[in-house]
Amino acid sequence: MKIIGPFIAVCVLACIAWLGTGPLSLYTLFGIIIPYLAFAAFIVGFIIRIVNWGRSAVPFRIPTTAGQEKSLPWIKQNKLDNPSSKAGVFGRMALEVLLFRSLFRNASTEKTEDGIAIGSAKWLWLGALIFHWSMLIIVLRHFRLFLDPIPAWISALEGIDGMFQIGLPVIYLTDLGIVAGLTFLFLRRVVVPRIRYISQAIDYFPLFLLLGIACAGIIMRYFTKVDMSAVKELCLGLVSFQPVANVTEPIFYVHVFLVCCLLVYFPWSKLMHAGGVFFSPTRNMANNSRAVRHVNPWNYEVKKHTYEEYENENWEKMKALGLPLDFEHVKEEEPPAEAEGAKADAAEGANAGAAEGAAAEAATTQDSEG
């Protein structure tokens, strides 16, 4: 059910778009209204998630990330894995975001006759890399539908993507890559017993949704065909706020509707790791705890009672007893009315006051140490 459920859900979504535009011809709804709403939901949802994360408590710098931290001059620091500067953090984050460095470190442990064997496990890294890069290039390629004239870099990207010129329309490598990547990521969850055990419906749903989007796009491009000039007109209309829904092929609306579902689903799901990776505490902070003092930002202001103040308050008594005085006495300006009473109180509670002061000081010391 964990697998079938999400699969059926994606099929139902596809059917909704198919029925809505095939027999019902609701082109304006599926071509204009839903895409606008979905895009708005994506932007707003994304920002809400970012703000929530940005406002939540951040732990101290984590000095135990992989690699040697900055230490004595003759110990070689691993500047990318355990950076102490902003540039290093940028490099570590870039490697993580662009090349999935932490997945590259995956290891697998196996029991052998001799004992335990530990080896590197790069399959997840490779599959994830193929999927994500294909996805990025596909998204960028789609900008040819939203821009007129088409910038040269998009044409160049398309040229590289279809460089083998196989078939007509030319097969894009990323189309193969995204399907292969998603299939691998799906099979991994099904085939490996441990991963299957921890996989939930929410792990399968995005995979099926993305596969559905990719398949609808591939069918549209290579097999059933759509009127591309109408598609471009629709896309340009959307981004210039003069929308026209003149595409009539249901497969196009299946593709678009599934993308809309993805956009709405994205900010509230595990897919939000796209934004969340930038908030990883082990990735986005320099390990400079030894060089820089970091004060807990939500520490309340501790009320301090310094010895100077203490001496000042008890100056006269201390002077009378002949105790050594370290500071120059600053006479408080006595308020006229309550002065007498206050003075009497001070005299009565002199000992108690001193004790309190000492206690407060002790507490202060503890606080600042903690």
Partner: protein, 151 residues
């Protein structure tokens, strides 16, 4: 993350997401119009391509690819259309005989949709259809070279 970092992140995200909108606000779109006004088309009694418009629009590239393979690899140069009419399988002599304005017909749509067909990788080199005196000479050059090579 610090507040400035968060705000910077949101700003970058919004700018990226709204870039297509901004780009279109700056340079408004020009509608796509294909030019069918050529002498050969105007002389036709019925304005009709070799197959129906729907098919030509969606599948002309596959038709041309098929023609290329048929002619170059199998020497098969006759295309029988759905209505029985026979045509020569030739981009230059059939397609471009009528559509003698590829800049305003082929290119316009291809540019609009960002498609880069490789037809012109070969056909353009010798200016078979571009009205350019120099290219006629080039073509003659090419023909004599090929004939010379075959002998």
């Amino acid at each position: 993350m610090k507040k400035t970092g968060m705000i910077a992140f949101i700003v970058v995200f919004c700018v990226l997401a709204l870039l297509p909108f901004a780009a279109n606000a700056v340079s408004p779109k020009a509608p796509l119009e294909l030019d069918y006004n050529t002498p050969a088309i105007n002389m036709l009694e019925e304005h009709k391509c070799i197959e129906d418009t729907e098919f030509m629009k969606s599948s002309h590239m596959q038709l041309l690819d098929q023609w290329r393979n048929d002619v170059v690899r199998n020497g098969d140069i006759v295309y029988t259309a759905t209505d029985g009419t026979r045509y020569e399988k030739s981009l230059d002599d059939t397609c471009l005989a009528c559509h003698s304005n590829p800049e305003d017909f082929c290119d316009r749509c291809h540019t609009y949709e960002g498609v880069e067909p490789f037809c012109w990788d070969c056909h353009n080199s010798f200016g078979l259809w571009r009205e350019d005196a120099n290219n006629e000479a080039l073509w003659q050059d090419y023909v004599s070279q090929v004939e010379g090579g075959q002998q």
